[in-house]
Symmetry: C2
Subunit: 289 residues, 2 copies
């Protein structure tokens, strides 16, 4: 993609400023739309996601770059969950009028990621008998928000998990090549996202609470109910070597349960007995995150 010379106007001045800061990261700017050429035979995978002030972020808790980082990660994570590779990112910023002076008053960010995959992974591929894995350690973002809300400063590790989450892109493709048949990213909370996977696959899901990889400083309830983790929940037909995964990616891969016959719901058990689970994060039920 080559860059097009841009015309005059405040909007273009702002774009020019961003282009200078981004250097080669910003290419192909200037036409009405971006052009991408996915590898031959790949399907195009596309997702869009909004981050809205007071709903998904508060400026007191995050720096501007962290707000942007999280917004892009949320969309990248949806591409990761399809075992696709991102090929381009489009960002729509809603700024307050003062932002003509500086890019400092972000109201909302909508991030669109276009990716591609030869065989995209969906949520509906799980079958009874599959093993359920989760990447990384859970509970960090929820524990960080609890600390912020109580007026404390979370630990560095919790802060990092909240402010700079990772989209598990390479991890998803590695897992898909080793038997993963369904995946979802943990954006609504583990129990809620397991429920989406169960509903889509028409299967039950059993999660064993004692197996959950809880981040130090977080509680089990954070790990089960907290959203915006961006770890992957994966159902796999084959057993996957957790040590190989950990050696390659530097984060754990944990078998936390299994896919069962229907009905399509989620049972969290401890020592074989069902326990109550907190409900997941729901943008439309809980506008103050």
């Amino acid at each position: 993609m080559t860059d097009v010379v841009m015309g005059s106007g405040a909007e273009f001045d702002l774009i020019r400023l961003m282009r200078e800061r981004w250097g080669k990261l910003a290419s192909g700017i200037g036409d009405d739309a971006a052009i991408l050429m996915p590898p031959r035979g790949d399907r195009v995978v596309v997702t869009t996601d909004s981050s809205v002030e007071h709903v998904h972020f508060r400026r007191e808790w995050l720096s501007m770059s962290e707000i942007g980082y999280r917004a892009v990660t949320a969309a990248l994570s949806d591409i990761a969950a399809m075992a696709a590779e991102p090929r381009g990112v489009l960002i729509a910023l809603s700024l307050s009028p003062e932002a003509r002076e500086r890019i400092g008053e972000i109201l909302a960010i909508t991030t669109t990621v276009v990716g591609s995959a030869h065989a995209p992974l969906g949520r509906g591929g799980a079958r009874p008998g599959d093993v359920l894995y989760v990447t990384g350690a859970l509970g960090g973002p929820a524990a960080a928000v609890r600390a912020f809300q109580a007026g404390h400063t979370p630990s560095n590790e919790l802060c990092a998990r909240f402010a700079r989450p990772s989209a598990r892109i390479a991890e998803a493709r590695w897992l898909a090549a080793r038997g993963a048949v369904a995946a979802i990213d943990v954006s609504d909370g583990l129990a809620a996202d397991a429920g989406h996977l169960a509903a889509a696959s028409g299967c039950g899901i059993e999660i064993r609470a004692e197996r959950l990889p809880v981040l130090p400083g977080a509680e089990e309830a954070d790990a089960i109910g907290g959203g915006e983790e961006y770890e992957l929940l994966v159902a796999s037909r084959a057993l996957i070597n957790e040590h190989d995964f950990a050696a390659r990616f530097g984060i754990p891969l944990t078998p936390i349960g299994r896919v069962t016959e229907g009905p399509a719901d989620v049972r969290v058990t401890r020592a074989g007995k069902r326990v109550e689970t907190p409900t997941g994060y729901d943008h439309f039920a809980a506008p103050e995150g």
Copy 2:
């Protein structure tokens, strides 16, 4: 694309409600990302565009369906300007908390359109000697906004041009097949968008005011300076048969000027003499549209 069974929660209830209303228009819902398969050999063309209350629309002036229609048209129009065919639309809605009850309080809409084209058209392809064409008749949206702002109700035709503009998708592909070498949609205003095309192509542009197709009820200044038209401004190496175009699409195609040697600016002339032009619509300079 098949639909995935969705889990529980208020967000999914809302999606289910919309899916019922949209019927077959909403397919492939439920996974983390949408999957598209563009024709072999096509490039993928993607654009994103935000419509923000008080900037791009006012609820007093438009119905909810018109707000949505315009938002989608704005993004479709960018795909049209690349002479690409739309293949999928993604919509991110920012709603106020009351919207849990009804989808009635829209704060912002971000629309992403993914299209594809074998040979996408850019802004930078114009060369001295090319003929400059514009589709349709201009000035309607600006005249409608003037009437609204003065407390009047615009005529039906002006209202329609403002509330239900058309993206010239088939028109652009037809023109690209007949000699068009550069295109831009008139979203910032004719003079401003001609300036973008001139800058990208490194050429001058001369527009003859007496040639402008001004919509009845609008003024020449509306046609030159008004934004959000979504008509196409096209530079063509070959002369294009305007009658064929009008017969096929039911709107005029008008040669309004030509591409000249640099410098890269726009001169609007009347009887060969340069006239002053109103500046275009600039989201960042004029937050109240």
